[in-house]
Amino acid sequence: MTLGEIKKSLLAAAWFMFLTFPIMVIKVNTIQKTVEWHWERLLYVAVGGFVFSFLWRYFLRRKQGGRRPAAPVETDEPEAVPAFQRLIHDRRFAMPALVVLGLFVLVFPYLFSMYQVNIMTTALIYVVTGLGLNVVVGVAGLLHLGYAAFYAVGAYTYALLNLHFGVSFWLALPIGAALGSVFAVILGFPVLRLRGDYLAIVTLGFGEIIRLVLENWNDFSYGPSGIANIPRPKFFWFDFSLEQSAVFIYFLMLAMVLLTVFVTNRLKDSRIGRAWIALREDEVACQAMGIDIARTKLSAFVMGSAWAGMAGVVFAAKTTFINPASFTLWESIVILCIVVLGGMGSILGVILGALVLILLPEYLRAFSEYRMLIFGVVLVVMMVFRPGGILSEVRRTYLFKEGLSKDGSLS
């Protein structure tokens, strides 16, 4: 603990005092029309800020100390991966864990209240959208800020087709996915030549346009008042009670999550999947290696949007009511946070990210005042200490029979 350290922490404390002064110290009593000064709180902030700043730097140093300078590749020891991540890739642990988890999710709706089932279904919808966006942002590296628009396309597809033509949920599901893809192509052609931040701004704009159209085109979308009485999905001819229906949608979402995981996992180590990652890593090199980047970008975009469309259909069926307020920029950002927090490109990471980000705020309702604050702090801390997300992407390894001989090399 040097003098410089103390000075830094003092500065941080002073800065905190300054920042929180208006909300912590000044209290306006509107009834008596007086201003109360809580000076003692300033002291708490000062002490808290000082300690916090110390801890912060301590952990930051530990993190940097733990990082190896340049990996010595000659050794056989595996990369320094966090214990948690190693555990997951250990079959002896992963298999039993998977079985237990599988049993748990199967009995979940019979153990917990309908409220819990509904929350979990919502979380599963976010798992699917998160995995979809993961293809675009996490794998292909295209910063997409208008993802909720494709979600909206799916939801309105079902709502409107059902309203006007009585189209059933099951038929709407593939149509929603298809329309999501069609919109992705429409947006993708002009937009995908842009890079990084430009792409982010245009997709953000697109998302807002879709929402504004839905809000203002009353004849088409029924405006801000939205569409109500959207039927829940049926299973053949069964008519479910409200409770049964909730359980049914839960299992439906579970199946959809499995399908999404299956598909994205297969894509991950395929020719196209590798091209997506190469695109994210270095666009110029990717193109120079013979990959048509326009097509590759478009395929990632379409793939991701199809899942959004499908999840949108389920969302409409679950809530039975939709309006444009469900598809704001905030929605896109939450899904983006899921991908970034979970771990760009990591399927399991994104699933965990979705569960944490959606379930945490629900269970933090008790601290409703500080909910958003805690949410924000968790995000910031994560980004500083684990910028790769909860789980980072792990690439497949290949084994070769003849071993690692250097025979046959040219030099």
Binding site: L267, S270, R274, A285, M289, D292, L410
Partner: protein, 263 residues
């Protein structure tokens, strides 16, 4: 025999700056040709024009596949189309796919010679599985040839510097080129790595029959490898010829004033 690469009157302007000025150049099958010149002379820009990254302001670029003998105009092709036509390149500032493994970097090189799509990847039908197996095996063969097999499952970003440069060459080789464009492959290498590179490049020419067009600052390497050398300065060709001729050329010595020219 007709040249496999022909550049006629190539010009490239960046605003007011003429980075390449009416450059003529040709390369025959099986040659190792070097392009040298002081920093900022426009060498990398020549590669960028050839590979479709820049659109030249004037001139013609023709590539003739030694297998089919068919000539193809490179002007207006996209970078991936140039690669499909059999020209592959490396970058002066290494541009590997850092978060992919060494093998996967090579597998990307096989992309343009294979065809599996999204639906194939999802259903994993027989054709896709077999193609995938072939990609893995072909890529591993390239790795072995370039002498990187022991790094096969390492992340590219964790490789030592010299190995990263070799990996760039391996990745380009995986696209099955007939002409390999190497942009300062020895930059930053130590003498031993440079010697190994020298052998590697000769090996690529002798065994794989690939023609090499090379930008390099290491004069010892250039003089020992090259069949012919082009010298550019301020975008203009100031000399061409065999290494001995270039070493004695007064214009070259003047352009390189202060820099060592002899091997």
């Amino acid at each position: 025999m007709q040249p496999i690469l022909e550049i006629r009157n190539l010009c490239m302007d960046f605003g007011g700056l003429r980075a390449i000025d009416t450059l003529d150049l040709h390369i025959g099958q099986g040659e190792i040709v070097a392009l040298i010149g002081p920093n900022g002379a426009g060498k990398t820009t020549v590669f960028n024009c050839l590979t479709g990254i820049y659109k030249p302001s004037g001139g013609e670029m023709l590539a003739r596949s030694p297998k089919t003998g068919e000539a193809r105009r490179l002007n207006g092709l996209k970078p991936n189309q140039v690669t499909e036509n059999g020209l592959a390149r490396t970058f002066q500032n290494i541009r590997l796919f850092g978060s992919m493994t060494v093998l996967e970097n090579i597998m990307i090189g096989r992309h343009c010679r294979t065809s599996a799509g999204i639906s194939g990847a999802i259903v994993r039908n027989r054709a896709t599985r077999e193609e995938e197996k072939r990609i893995v095996q072909d890529s591993y063969d390239v790795l072995k040839k370039i002498g990187l097999a022991r790094y096969v499952n390492e992340y590219a970003k964790n490789l030592p510097y010299g190995a990263q440069r070799r990996l760039e060459i391996a990745r380009a080789m995986a696209t099955d080129p007939f002409l390999l464009l190497l942009d300062e492959p020895a930059a930053g290498m130590n003498p031993q790595e440079t010697d190994e590179l020298n052998e590697l490049i000769i090996g690529i020419r002798e065994e794989a029959g690939i023609t090499i067009f090379l930008i390099e600052h290491d004069m010892k390497l250039v003089m020992s490898l090259s069949d012919r050398i082009y010298v550019v300065d301020y975008g203009k060709k100031i000399a061409e010829g065999r290494p001995e001729e270039i070493k004695r050329n007064p214009a070259v010595i003047k352009a390189y004033l202060g820099e060592e020219v002899d091997a």
